[in-house]
Each structure stands twice: as structure tokens, then as C-alpha cells.
């Protein structure tokens, strides 16, 4: 087998360009825009129908929000309860402060089995920590088994959507990737493969089956963990999840600490809202739940790696912590006008779209160029909040994070309180705001300035010079009226008597 796996950029990406630059390139690609438009519009309409089928959607949404908020407020207690329950059921629990520690733990666990390959169920957490790359460096090959992840892995590409990582590829591109690359990783694509989705899915079935049948180690994430019972839940469609969760002898699950729900009963909310909100189905084809290990059925060894990696820092932020309610349905991506045009890669993170714009800068901090720009990757239209099944007020968090980027201030990083400096690149904006504050608190100066502006209006440039150029590059400068409002008010007595 040849071919170097390029995969995901290491988290965080120190050199990823800021969102506007990355998006600019994506917007200029007509094939990408066509693919994105087709896919997001298809799912939008279907989702609306699936949600309209249940008359109590608003109540389910509110309950989901409250369950998650309650869990987060008592997260320490529920983490300990979960640990006890998983251990009692025959599992082993590990704790990972950051990506490096999680990768070290998983790599060691795989090495202990003596195996050099693992099969993986699609998992955002393992993408976030760059697990595949860490395993590769240790001589362990990780096979992605979700169809879209397979397309991404074979294409030496990056995922661009939480649910449908290959959403940026159309069927013709997928056929070409299968034809040219499948042979390098195992069973080649069938002769004469066409671009019909059914044939492409069949090619993936044949290619992956030999890997499933011989796999000794499976790696997964989880959609939910139930504290009272120690049960993990994986929601999926293709059956690759079931293969990875039941055929191997060893199962390793890497799960963010915020994925807990307190009780078995709480699943009744999320097992209704997640499928309808993500794939627009009444129920997804397969849901697997397991509690530790079961004698004679499935893996004999089960490890759970609880991942922090910035989540406890996010929890410390009063406004921002609501992002931890996210159940990764990706409905916010599908309705976002910015995502639809820019695509997922521009967000420079495994979490793209509106949720990524508030999650990545909190998990990673706002210090890098990309993370400082993500809170601006939105028109604040609010469609993301409308569709969110756990009612995350994404616009509110975006505005909060913009404030942090521009003004700096207190935050928690790696468990420590820090005072952030204002990000570079916002000096002109801050200077303008300071000048405005001075002018508005000095009425005489404001009056003189406004009159001067009105009289010189024919001389005004259409774009700003110097540091203001970037601002006016995407906007029209507002026209200055011939007469300042306050002069008009004084002259006409507030418009009385119809005076103009």
C-alpha cells in the first residue's frame, strides 16, 4: 500500500489564512459553489418537512436546551458518575486534558493490542485532535469507514461539513477519486464504475468489507453518554458504525466531556431531535448503544477517553458556554448563507459553519489569524439560531467573541485566567471608535465637523485610504446629507408646518 496520508491540519492550524481570504478563494470556484448550493438546498427543504411532522418541536427544543444546560452546570458530578458506571460495566476510563494527551493514550492502547491498523467510525472528536496523523506517526494505519470520510481520506482532502464531510464533492469527482485511489488502500474500484450514487456506495461496501471483517481494533466517538447507566450512543446511517462497534475485539471511544446526558430517559428528547435536524429523517437507520462490555457479544475490551481540549475553558465563559450544548446535527451549516457560499474549508477547523465560528475560537483561543476572524464569518442573520435543536444563540456568542477580539479582556485558557490583548488588525477600528466617543461627548466639535462634512461632500472619495481600505473594499461609503440633521431640526423646528 502506498500513498502518504495528508489528512487534516493539526489542531489548531497556526498558518491557516483568515476567513475572508480563504472564503474569497472558495467563492471564486463555480463547481464548489454549485455543489454546495445543491446539497444545502436539498437538505433544507427535507429538514423543514421532518421537523413539521412533530407538533411539539418547540417543546422538544426547549427540553433539549434545558437538559444540556443542567448537565453543564453539574458537569463535574456527572463526569464522576459516568466514570463509575462505565467502570462498573467493565470499561476503562481515561482522562485527556488536551489533544496530545488523548493521542498518546489511544496510541498506547492500540500498541498494547499488538495491532498496526484500526477501523474508525466518523468522529468529530478524533478529527479535532488529529488522531489519524498521530497514529500514522506511530506506524498505525487508521481506516475511515464512513463513506464521506472515505472519500475525503482517499482524496487526500479535508472534511468540509460536520455531517457530510465530502459535501464539496459531486458524484463525478467522487467516481474519479474511487477509480484512481481505492487500489492504493485495498480493494480497487469495480471496472466501469459510473457516477450513480448507488454504484458508488456499492464500491465503498466492497472496498471496506475486507477491512471490517479482519479488524481487531475499532475507534469511535459518541453522540451521547448517559451518566446514570454508563451507556454510550452512536447514531449513524450506513452500518459502518455497527461494524466498528461490534466486530473488533477492542473498542476505544474518544468523547468530549460535554457529551453527557444525566439519565437514560433524557435520550427520548435527543433521539427525536437529532435525526430530524441532521439528516431530515424520522429516525436514522442505525443507532447503537452499549454499556461497558457484554459477555460473548462485541468487543471484550472497552476504553473510554474523556477529552477536555478547551471545553472546560469554554465552560468558564458565561455567554460562550452555550456552544457546549451542540449535538453536532449541522442544521446551522445547511441554512447559513455564508457557509453556502464559502464552503467548509474556509473556516480552518473541523467545525465549520456558524457553530464552528463560535466553537473553534473558544476551544483554541482567539490568538491565531483564523480564530480571530471566525466571529466575523457571519452576517448575523439568525437563521442558525432558528434551526438549532438545542437553541444555541449563535449570533449572541458571535457578537460576544467579536468584542473579545477587538477589546481583549478576561478569558480562561488551559484552566488559567488570562487577560487577552486586543487582536492585531483591529487598531483602525478601535481608533475610529475612540474618536467617535470623543466627538459625541463634545457637541461643539461634532457640530463643526458635521457642517464641514456636508459642505465638502462633493470632494469625498468613494473608498477610504490607508487602513480603512479593507473596510470600504466590501462596502459603499454612506452618502453625507447636504445639511446635518441637527441644523435641519433647528431651522424647521423639528419639521413642523411641513417645512422641508
Amino acid at each position: 500500500m502506498s500513498g502518504t496520508f495528508v489528512g487534516m491540519p493539526v489542531f489548531p492550524p497556526p498558518t491557516h489564512p483568515a476567513f475572508p481570504k480563504a472564503a474569497h478563494e472558495a467563492v471564486g470556484n463555480p463547481v464548489l459553489r454549485g455543489n454546495l448550493r445543491h446539497a444545502t438546498h436539498t437538505i433544507r427543504a427535507k429538514r423543514a418537512n421532518a421537523v413539521a411532522e412533530v407538533s411539539d418541536w418547540a417543546e422538544l427544543r426547549e427540553a433539549g436546551k434545558r437538559i444540556k444546560d443542567h448537565t453543564l452546570r453539574h458537569l463535574d458530578r456527572y463526569l464522576v458518575q459516568l466514570e463509575e458506571a462505565v467502570t462498573a460495566a467493565g470499561g476503562t476510563v481515561h482522562w485527556a486534558v488536551d489533544a496530545d494527551e488523548a493521542n498518546r493514550i489511544v496510541t498506547e492502547l492500540v500498541k498494547e493490542t499488538g495491532e498496526s491498523e484500526v477501523v474508525k467510525v466518523k468522529s468529530m472528536a478524533t478529527q479535532e485532535i488529529g488522531l489519524n496523523e498521530a497514529l500514522e506517526a506511530a506506524g498505525i494505519r487508521a481506516y475511515e469507514t464512513d463513506l464521506a470520510e472515505l472519500i475525503v481520506q482517499l482524496g487526500h482532502d479535508r472534511p468540509s461539513h460536520i455531517l457530510v464531510p465530502a459535501i464539496h464533492r459531486n458524484r463525478g469527482e467522487i467516481r474519479d477519486i474511487f477509480r484512481t485511489r481505492m487500489g492504493e488502500w485495498g480493494r480497487p474500484a469495480p471496472e466501469g464504475l459510473t457516477d450513480t450514487p448507488a454504484e458508488l456506495a456499492e464500491a465503498a461496501r466492497l472496498h471496506l468489507r475486507e477491512k471490517f471483517l479482519r479488524a481487531k481494533v475499532g475507534v469511535s466517538g459518541a453522540n451521547f453518554m448517559v451518566a446514570e447507566t454508563g451507556t454510550l450512543v452512536v447514531v449513524e446511517s450506513e452500518g459502518n458504525g455497527r461494524m466498528c462497534l461490534t466486530l473488533p475485539e477492542t473498542l476505544i471511544s474518544v468523547v468530549g466531556i460535554e457529551k453527557i446526558v444525566p439519565t437514560w430517559r433524557d435520550l427520548e428528547v435527543f433521539l427525536q431531535t437529532l435525526p430530524r435536524s441532521s439528516t431530515a429523517e424520522r429516525m436514522n437507520p442505525y443507532t447503537s448503544t452499549w454499556t461497558g462490555t457484554t459477555d460473548g457479544d462485541g468487543p471484550r475490551t472497552f476504553h473510554l477517553v474523556l477529552l477536555d481540549n478547551g471545553r472546560s475553558d469554554t465552560l468558564a465563559d458565561e455567554v460562550g458556554r452555550q456552544a457546549l450544548r451542540c449535538i453536532r446535527c449541522s442544521a446551522c451549516l445547511n441554512v447559513c448563507p455564508v457557509y453556502e457560499r464559502a464552503g467548509g474549508h474556509a473556516y480552518g477547523s473541523v467545525y465549520p459553519g456558524p457553530i464552528g465560528a463560535i466553537l473553534s475560537p473558544q476551544l483554541r483561543g482567539t490568538q491565531s489569524e483564523i480564530d480571530a476572524s471566525l466571529p466575523y464569518a457571519s452576517s448575523l442573520c439568525g437563521a442558525c439560531y432558528e434551526v438549532c435543536p438545542v437553541a444555541i444563540d449563535i449570533p449572541e456568542v458571535l457578537v460576544h467573541l467579536r468584542e473579545r477580539v477587538v477589546q481583549g479582556g478576561e478569558a480562561v485558557r488551559d484552566g488559567n485566567k488570562v487577560v487577552l490583548k486586543p487582536a492585531k488588525g483591529h487598531a483602525a477600528e478601535r481608533a475610529a471608535m475612540r474618536a467617535a466617543r470623543w466627538a459625541f461627548s463634545h457637541p461643539a466639535a461634532l457640530r463643526t465637523g458635521q457642517r464641514l462634512a456636508s459642505r465638502s461632500r462633493r470632494l469625498h472619495p468613494r473608498t477610504l485610504p490607508g487602513p480603512g481600505r479593507a473596510w470600504s473594499g466590501t462596502r459603499d461609503l454612506p452618502a453625507v446629507p447636504a445639511e446635518p440633521f441637527r441644523d435641519w431640526w433647528q431651522r424647521t423646528g423639528g419639521g413642523k408646518g411641513g417645512a422641508k
Binding site: 436539498t42 412533530v54 411539539d56 422538544l60 427540553a63 434545558r66 443542567h70 453543564l72 452546570r73 464522576v80 482522562w95 486534558v97 494527551e101 469507514t145 463513506l147 464521506a148 457530510v164 464531510p165 465530502a166 459531486n170 458524484r171 448507488a198 458508488l200 456506495a201 465503498a204 461496501r205 471496506l208 468489507r209 471490517f212 447507566t229 446511517s237 450506513e238 452500518g239 455497527r242 461490534t246 466486530l247 466531556i257 437514560w264 430517559r265 427520548e268 428528547v269 427525536q272 439528516t279 424520522r282 429516525m283 437507520p285 442505525y286 443507532t287 447503537s288 452499549w290 460473548g296 457479544d297 462485541g298 474523556l306 472546560s312 475553558d313 465552560l315 468558564a316 458556554r321 484552566g415
Partner: protein, 222 residues
């Protein structure tokens, strides 16, 4: 300090001072959607199973063995995996080799088997879902995964509930559960749904009712 203590410490510091805002979780949502008679609930199950491309059959207990025999033959299977606790009477008309669900059999061996016949733990009408809990008539999780053809018998109406909340009440969290809604599918290519990826590509659900003539097809109790 261990990583466990470090994470729990960070979480506790992050939460300092917010606990008293906690409100109890209100559950204003419905226990089930709409009002249906028992027969109508079974009809809805059949309808939603079929909507996600499961093939639905209805028969009486007396007809079950013949139906199973016909479905296995119709699929062209020469071998069938059988869970240890399956009612042997269901297999009376089977013209295929029976393969026991054994701990020692490998996934490769299962891959050579044509069909699998199981019961189920519960079925959910609103979502068209059958749930397996590894009971004696259902066997290990892998036997309903590797073979390409799954025949699942649901005893109606006693195994049928209307909704997801009602199903969770009936299920035991400590057992490994598999919730199945139609054959495996993917929406990964242009968000178009395609049926049949890694799990069984054909799912046949047999709704079997008691031997009282006239009510078995859900037509009698409206």
C-alpha cells in the same frame, strides 16, 4: 496532579457561582404524537417501515413458518443464521442450512451466510424503528449486521409502541441495543439518500398477530 483531577478542577472553577440558577428540566413535549387505536398504531408502523424501504409482511402465527420459508427462498439464501432462543416452530418450512449463532464463529464465516431470522425487543410506530436488545430470539449484534438479508419478526400488537419515549421506558440500558430504521443508507453523495451500504441491504419485517381470524391485518379494530 492527574489529568482527571486537573479536568475536574477546571470544570469546578468554571462553574463556581452559577449553580443556584439551576431550574428543573421541564418536559412539556408529548409522550406520543396523535391518538390512535392499537390497530392504527400497527398500521402506522407498517407504513413508516415501508417508507424507509423495509419490506413489510403481515400474517398470523399459524402462517409465520410458511412466510419465513418463502422469504428465505425468495432471497436465494442457502444458509440462515439462527439465534439460540428462536422459536423452532418459525423455521419449520425452512429449506436452507441452519447456522447457529456461536461465540467462536468469525465475521468471515458470517459473511458467507445468506440470511438471518430474529425476533425483536420493541418496535416504534412513529419512526418505523425496530429495536434489538440481544435477547435469546435475537442473538449477538453481529448476526444481524454481516449477512445481507435480515428477516425480523415483530409480534403485534404487544411489541409495538407509538413513540420513542415509550420505547425507552421498555428497554434495558445495560443490554447492547441496536435500533434499526430501514436498511442501511447513506446521504453522503450530494445529500441524496441511497439505501444499502454496510448493513443488510434487504430488511424484511414480518408483523405477526395471534391466530384470531379477522383482526390480524389491522383491519378489524377501527
Amino acid at each position: 496532579m492527574s489529568s482527571r483531577e486537573r479536568i475536574l478542577g477546571r470544570v469546578r472553577r468554571a462553574l463556581a457561582g452559577v449553580r443556584d440558577e439551576d431550574a428543573p428540566v421541564e418536559r412539556a413535549y408529548l409522550r406520543e404524537h396523535g391518538q390512535r387505536s392499537t390497530a392504527q398504531t400497527v398500521d402506522l408502523l407498517a407504513e413508516n417501515l415501508a417508507d424507509y424501504r423495509a419490506v413489510v409482511h403481515r400474517c398470523t402465527a399459524g402462517e409465520l413458518a410458511a412466510v419465513i420459508g418463502r422469504l428465505v427462498a425468495g432471497h436465494g439464501s442457502t444458509s440462515v443464521v439462527v439465534p439460540a432462543g428462536l422459536d423452532q416452530g418459525w423455521l419449520a418450512a425452512l429449506d436452507a442450512e441452519q447456522v447457529a449463532d456461536r461465540a467462536e464463529s468469525t465475521p468471515h464465516e458470517l459473511d458467507g451466510v445468506g440470511s438471518v431470522v430474529t425476533g425483536c425487543a420493541v418496535a416504534i410506530a412513529e419512526t418505523g424503528t425496530i429495536v434489538l436488545d440481544g435477547g435469546p430470539d435475537q442473538g449477538r449484534r453481529r448476526i444481524t449486521l454481516v449477512p445481507d438479508h435480515h428477516i425480523c419478526v415483530v409480534r403485534v400488537p404487544e411489541q409495538v409502541v407509538s413513540s420513542v419515549p415509550q420505547a425507552l421506558e421498555r428497554l434495558d440500558a445495560t443490554r447492547p441495543l441496536t435500533w434499526i430504521s430501514g436498511p442501511s443508507a447513506t446521504s453522503d453523495i450530494e445529500l441524496d439518500r441511497v439505501e444499502g451500504v454496510h448493513g443488510p441491504r434487504t430488511l424484511e419485517v414480518v408483523l405477526v398477530s395471534g391466530d384470531r381470524p379477522g383482526v390480524q391485518d389491522g383491519a378489524g379494530e377501527r
